[in-house]
Each structure stands twice: as structure tokens, then as C-alpha cells.
Amino acid sequence: MGVLKVTDLSVSFGDFNVFHDISFEVKKGEAVAIVGPNGSGKSVLFRAILGFISYSGKVEWAKNIKIGYVPQKLFVDMHFPVSVGDFFSFKTKSKQAINEALNSVGIIGNEKYLRHHVLSKKLGALSGGQFQRIMIAWAIINKPDILLFDEPTSGIDVGGEETIYNLLHKLQTQNKLSLVLISHDLNIVYHYANKVMCLNKEMVCFGEPHQVLDPASLSKLYGGEAKFYHHEH
């Protein structure tokens, strides 16, 4: 078995059926992207497989697996009095572990530099791109086997998006990290994901992007005429 195996997973809130009968598997070192329109249940899927909400079906994680998770919504504003250093201290007391994690997300410097220019900054004062890097560093600090990332590029401009995905790709190949990403950007899916899951109340497709993202499943996923065509370069 791979890192994660999900069988016939369904979630409802009261009478409202969020999604039903989702089955898929994530193997070691694989990048799986989850795509679908707003409200299709992508974030709920994460919350279910992490065990935060009740569900029916089966979610099996590999034994002793370490999971890193980055949720989409964080309540941090400009005036939130929590520094980057405070935020890391919620997870580890080891300065070395923090510095290593920062280095591996491309925030490079000696201990003094990091302390003065990164760790002392307020979490809410970071730019979107810096913030996501810090979130990734936070998530990988205890060297997880799999990283679940809800919209890695929300709040980041177009140039920054690519950097974040390159970074995730690097972590995936270097550390044999499995990735499960929720993404709205099909271009990114073609470039970086080994597998893609199309989710809209049910699993519309699952497999390698080039094979499963055909106009038929895209139109089923987003409704009407699919507006996206992939150009081969």
C-alpha cells in the first residue's frame, strides 16, 4: 500500500451531501492535485482524511506516518502580535530545526540574519509569497512523509506562484515527500502533478493529468463548455 488509501469516502453536513464515494490512493513521493470548482468539497476532503470531521468510508494512512498540513484560511492580520519566531515555537523549540526548515524553503542566512530579518517579523506583516514559504517551512519542520496543502498560491501574484510550485516540486523530489495539493490552476496541474483528481460532489476523474483531463471530464467538472485548453509546447 502507498502512503494513503481512501475508500468510498462520503461526507454530509446534516442533510447536505458534500461529496460521496471518493476512492483514491497516494503513493510515496507522488504529487496529487485536487481540482474542482468552488464549493466542490476540496477543503472538506482534506478535513475528512485528517480526521477533523466525521465521515463514512475508510481512510487508511501508512503506519507511523508523519503528516504536514497547511490549511487555506488563517486568521492573521497586520496587527496580530505573533512573530514568525513565535509561530515556529508552537511547533519546535529547536533553533537548528527552524533554521534548517527555513533554508530548505529558500530563506537562506546565518542564525543572526534569520533572527533579525525573518523570525522577528510579525506573521501578519509578511507578503503573500513570504507567508506561504513560512507555512511550508512550518509544515516540513518535523520532516513529514506527506504534505497536504490547501491552495498553495492563494494570495500570491502570478510570478510568485511558480516559485512556490518549484519549491514544492524540489521538496517532493529531494525528500521523497508525497504531496496532495488543492489547486485552481490547471496549468500547474499539468506541470507538477503526477496524478490529478477532479472533484465536484463526486470523483469526476482520477489519474495522470494528460490522460484524464479531457474536454468531457472538464466540462463535467466545471459545467458547460470547458474554457481551458492545454497547449503542448
Binding site: G14, R47, L50, F52, I67, G68, Y69, V70, P71, K73, L74, F75, V76, M78, H79, F80, P81, V82, S83, G85, D86, F87, S89, F90, K91, S120, K122, L123
Partner: protein, 255 residues
């Protein structure tokens, strides 16, 4: 200086310290107004204490304890909107409290009177304040992480529901203690204002929590001392002092 004022200063200092420290979390969790509304619930409890001749602190704490269980249950077990229910329930208990509190004690219950603090009262207040600070310190980081994201906290093994409950318990405890100092109407100010002032000038969590506790302590101390000098009720003076600290902090506010 007579011994009464010494007991009241000791009580006020410790309760102020604990209120400021706890208030820093309440402000972060956007619970400032819950704290305010919650303090109104204490009034019927206080009144029962006065009417049946037992320590009003225990009456207040029992009423607060019952209402935090109530809030916790509606938040966790139902899909009802907490805000409206809290608004209705709390103003209702304020009204009941106003009706059943004997007239001579009403002013004291509403605005506090720490000048009549006995030695046993002071000892209880000091011990309970220290217990509150100790417990809050143990769950502080977890609560802040849960404020940033409940899911993120859960993903690293924080039992958020349990900790939220412990936190609410401590809120009830501190509100019950603080009522002695500033009364049911002004208790909100004792937890909110020091934290709001500290938030203006803090860049990290350590200084935020520390300054908030310090401002709580200073405003209680200064307010109670002033009240003995000008012979005016301490409650409003404590709040005025802490509000002054807030306005000074605005000048030093860092973006």
C-alpha cells in the same frame, strides 16, 4: 495606611495581573465582548449570595460556570448562532440580577467595591489568580495556534475543544474575581483594555502577553490607590487608569 486598603491593593494587584494576562488571549480570540456580556451573568449569582448570606464570589462563579457550559454546549452541540443567544441570555440575567439584588448593595454589585476586602478574601483572590495564571500559561501557545487556525492546531495534535473549555473555565474564574474590583458593568474593561493597549505596541507574543499583564496590574494598583486618595469608588478609577494607558499606547503604536 489602614490594613483594609493593603488587602484591597493586594487583591487588586493580583486580579489585575491575571485579568490582563487572560485578557490578552480574549482579545486575540475576538472574545472581548463575550467577556463583557459574561460578566453580566454574574449579577444574579452575586444577588443570591447577598440574599442568602453566603460569599457572593461563589454565587458569581457558579452563575458564570453555568453560563460558560451553556455557551460551550451551543457552540459544540448545536448549529445555533452563539452571538444572538448570548446576547439574549446575558441581558436577561442582567435584568433578573437588577430585580433581585437588594437596593443598598446594587451599586456595589454593578461597579465593585474593593475597599471592604477581608484577609480571607484577599488570600482566596491571590491563590485563585495565581492558579489562573499558571493554567493559562500552560495552554497559551496552543490557544494562540488554535486562534490562527483550529485545523492547524488539530493537525499537530492539540485537543482544541478541551483546551477551549479549560480556557472558558478560567475566564469564568477571573470574571468572578474581577467583579469584586470593578463590578459587573465594568469587568469587560479590566480584561479588554490592557490587552488592547499592549497589542498597539507589541511585535511578538512574549511582549504582548507580558505587557498586557503588566498594564492590568498597573491600572488596578493605580486605580485603587487613587480611590483611597480622592475617596471615590475604585472600579471606575481602575478603568480610567487603564484607558489612559491605552491612549498613551496609541501614540507609540507601531504599524
Amino acid at each position: 495606611m489602614n490594613t483594609d486598603i493593603i488587602f484591597s491593593i493586594i487583591t487588586g494587584t493580583f486580579v489585575g495581573l491575571a485579568s490582563g494576562y487572560l485578557g490578552s488571549l480574549m482579545v486575540l480570540r475576538k472574545m472581548s465582548l463575550v467577556g463583557d456580556a459574561l460578566s453580566h451573568v454574574a449579577l444574579p449569582g452575586l444577588a443570591l449570595g447577598i440574599l442568602f448570606n453566603f460569599n457572593p464570589f461563589f454565587g458569581a462563579f457558579a452563575a458564570l460556570f453555568a453560563s460558560i457550559i451553556f455557551i460551550w454546549l451551543i457552540e459544540n452541540k448545536t448549529k445555533l448562532s452563539t452571538e444572538t443567544l448570548v446576547g439574549i441570555f446575558f441581558t436577561l440575567s442582567l435584568a433578573i440580577g437588577l430585580v433581585i439584588t437588594p437596593e443598598p448593595e446594587l451599586l456595589e454589585a454593578l461597579f465593585g467595591d474593593i475597599s471592604k476586602t477581608s484577609a480571607p478574601d484577599a488570600v482566596i483572590a491571590v491563590i485563585l489568580s495565581l492558579v489562573a495564571i499558571f493554567v493559562v500559561r500552560r495552554v497559551y501557545n496552543k490557544l494562540v495556534l488554535g486562534t490562527i487556525s483550529d485545523d492547524l492546531a488539530k493537525s499537530v495534535g492539540v485537543k482544541t475543544k478541551k483546551i477551549d473549555f479549560v480556557f472558558l473555565l478560567i475566564v469564568a474564574l477571573i470574571v468572578a474575581l474581577g467583579i469584586k474590583v470593578v463590578g459587573t458593568l465594568l469587568m469587560g474593561a479590566l480584561v479588554i483594555i490592557p490587552a488592547a493597549a499592549s497589542k498597539n505596541i507589541s511585535r511578538n507574543l512574549g511582549s504582548y502577553a507580558g505587557l498586557s499583564a503588566l498594564f492590568g496590574l498597573l491600572s488596578s494598583l493605580a486605580g485603587i490607590y487613587l480611590s483611597s486618595v480622592v475617596e471615590f469608588a475604585p472600579g471606575p478609577l481602575v478603568v480610567l487608569t487603564s484607558a489612559s494607558l491605552f491612549f498613551v499606547s496609541l501614540i507609540f503604536k507601531k504599524s
